[in-house]
Every structure is written in C-alpha cells, then in structure tokens.
C-alpha cells in the first residue's frame, strides 16, 4: 500500500478516535467518576448496543492508529529489508490480535458472560 494512503488512514483514525473518545468521556461525566467505574455501570455500557458498537469502533481506530504510529517509529529507528518487513507484518499482526481480543471482551461483556 502506498505510504500516503497509510498516512491518510493514520490521520483519519486519529480524528475519529478524538471525536469518539470525547463522546465516551462526556458519557462518563453524566455520573460521578467513581460511580462510572462501578462494575454494574461498566457492564451496562456493553449491554447498550449503540454504545458497545462505539467502543468497538474506538478499539479499531486506536489500534490502527497506535500500531501504525509504532511501526513508523520503529522504521525510523532502524533500517533493513528483513527488519522492515518484520515491523510491517508484525504491526498488522499485533493490530489484528488486539482488535480480536478487545472485540471478544466487548462481545462477552455484551452477552453477559464474564
């Protein structure tokens, strides 16, 4: 993939994440901070489908942005064909693993499994 497309995705995911995390923080402010962290309240977020979907999107946006950022930093630190391939594919793999693990958590919490 061309680097400009990757960077468009990088900037887009950053903007999207800022917008959705802002919504997330505003939702937290509807109650006290300590209350919002109580078990029942946290689980209730996952039972509300639109909110759970928003958390899933936040997870995807932050994973894509974060791991691409890490990829860029690592590419600047060291160069070499094998190393760069390792970093590129490693980042995609780590990104997919984190999204899969996070989605599993969201799904399980949404379905009432613990």
């Amino acid at each position: 993939m061309r680097e400009s497309i990757i960077m468009k995705i990088h900037y887009g995911t950053a903007l999207g994440a800022v917008a959705l995390v802002t919504i997330h923080i505003l939702f937290r402010m509807t109650q006290n901070f300590s209350e919002s962290l109580q078990y029942q309240n946290v689980i209730a977020n996952y039972h509300l489908l639109p909110y759970a979907l928003m958390l899933e999107v936040v997870l995807i946006l932050l994973s894509v942005h974060g791991f691409n950022g890490l990829r860029v930093i690592l590419l600047e630190l060291k160069q070499g064909i094998v190393y760069e391939k390792l970093i590129n594919y490693g980042s995609i793999g780590a990104m997919a693993a984190l999204i899969a693990y996070g989605s599993r958590t969201i799904l399980m919490a949404g379905m009432g499994m613990s």
Binding site: E3, S4, V72, L75, E76
Partner: protein, 254 residues
C-alpha cells in the same frame, strides 16, 4: 567525542592582529582513528575573518594536514558546510566576529559519513537529489527549431524560485533530526528539490516525483522540526516545501 586535544601556536611571525581566537578543529580519520579528537590552534583574526579563512590560516601556517572541502569562498558552491560551535553553517559565510566567542569549534556535519576531519561524504545526498529527477520533464523541447522558449509569469516563477537557490551544501540534511536515525530518509534537500520541479508549471513530471517521495522513507517521515529551514544559508525553506508536497499527496493541492 574524546576530549583529548592537541594545541599548536604559530612559530612563524604572523600578520599583526590585536585579536586572536582558539580554533578547535575536530580531527578524525575513520581509517586509523577510533574516535575524533580536537586540535587547538591560536589564530589571529580581523573583524572580517571568516571561519574558513581561520581554517585556511591553520592549514597554511600550523598544520597543513587538516582536511577541509572548500571552493568559491562566497556561499555559492556549498562545499564548506560544517558545524560551527555546534550549529550547521557554511564556514565561508560565517564571520568569527559574529560568533561572540573566543573559542570556535568546528566539526564535520552530522548525518554524513566522515571522509576525514571536516570533509564529509555527499554520495548519498547527491544520489537522493538525482532520484528526484532534478530537471524539467516534458515531451516537447524549447530548443527545437519550430518551438519558442517556455514563457512564465512572475507569479509562476515565484512558486518555485526560492527552492532553486539550493546549493546542495547539505546543511539542511545535517540539521534534520529524522536523518539522524533514518539513513534511508530522502532528506529535506531532496524533498525541497522535488517540490522545486513539481511547482514548476513547465514540468510534466509531477506524478513521477510524487510516486518517488511517497514511500516508507519518503516525505511522511518528516516531523516538521523546521531545523532544515533554520540553517539554510540561501533562505530556502525545505520544511515549507515538504508541507506543500504533502498537500499534493493528501489531495489538498492539484
């Protein structure tokens, strides 16, 4: 860098001067030395003495083995770039009196392999410059018999003029923090030259050049520190060129 120093003072009678400075020159031969050392020289100066003149005084009177690259002595050839008191600058364009210091330290530029002492290897920078296709690309020619010269309005010239002032001295690449870690990075010099031709309305090679710079060690690795523009002795603003090129790649500019 090692702090070992070699001090030398002139043994012969020198031009009369009320002022003198200590010139510290980094000495390093990668073939023989493990790390650079500083050689110190007492150099008489006048108000108008440049750092290059001080180095040449050392070569002429104290130690002829000091390696330095220079040519025009008027900031046109881009040969005498070096770190002067820690900052990348042209030795011929920096007056000692402007440095406000009795000790002047000269070192080779960062981000370039050292050939010897103050002389660095420009091979990679010139290769990157060449990669940018630094010439007008178009089908027709202004030198064919049935064609006329390609006329441009002052506004069209203004779009790229400052970038054509680049003398390839390498100071921008030396100041670039990305180049310090990413040796595959094209660098501000190459990217500014890419913009110089992309912005030229006589040129049809925009797509080709944008493709070259749009790679993993290309334009996107610039963090916009702006130090390249800060050190340029010719007033070129590579940081701006990079941002304008990004505009093309992000679709803000056509």
């Amino acid at each position: 860098m090692a702090v070992e120093t070699i001090s030398k003072t002139p043994e012969v009678s020198l031009p009369i001067s009320s002022d003198s400075i200590t010139l510290r020159i980094s000495r390093f031969n990668p073939k023989n030395d493990l790390s650079p050392i500083f050689a110190e020289f007492k150099v008489p100066i006048q108000k108008w003495t440049t750092v290059l003149e001080a180095i040449l005084f050392v070569k002429q009177n104290l130690d002829h083995s000091v390696a330095v690259r220079y040519s025009c002595r008027q900031a046109s050839c881009g040969s005498c770039g070096m770190r002067i008191n820690g900052k990348p600058a042209l030795a011929c364009y920096t007056k000692i009196s402007e440095l406000n210091s009795n000790i002047v330290t000269v070192e080779p530029m960062h981000n370039f392999p050292i050939i010897r002492d103050l002389a660095v290897d420009f091979k990679q920078m010139f290769a990157n410059h060449k990669k940018m296709k630094p010439y007008i690309i178009r089908e027709d020619s202004e030198i064919a018999s049935d064609t006329k010269e390609f006329l441009q309005t002052p506004e069209e010239v203004e779009k790229y003029l400052q970038f054509s002032y680049c003398i390839k001295c390498g100071l921008c690449n030396s100041a670039c923090p990305t180049m310090a870690t990413d040796e595959s990075f094209i660098g501000p010099q190459g990217l500014a030259q890419a913009y110089r031709y992309v912005a030229d309305n006589r040129d049809d090679g925009k797509k080709e050049r944008l493709k070259i710079i749009d790679q993993s060690h290309g334009i996107w690795r610039c963090h916009f520190a702006g130090s390249c523009s800060h050190v340029c002795p010719k007033g070129v603003d590579p940081a701006m060129a990079i941002q304008l090129l990004r505009g093309y790649l992000l679709g803000f500019r056509k």
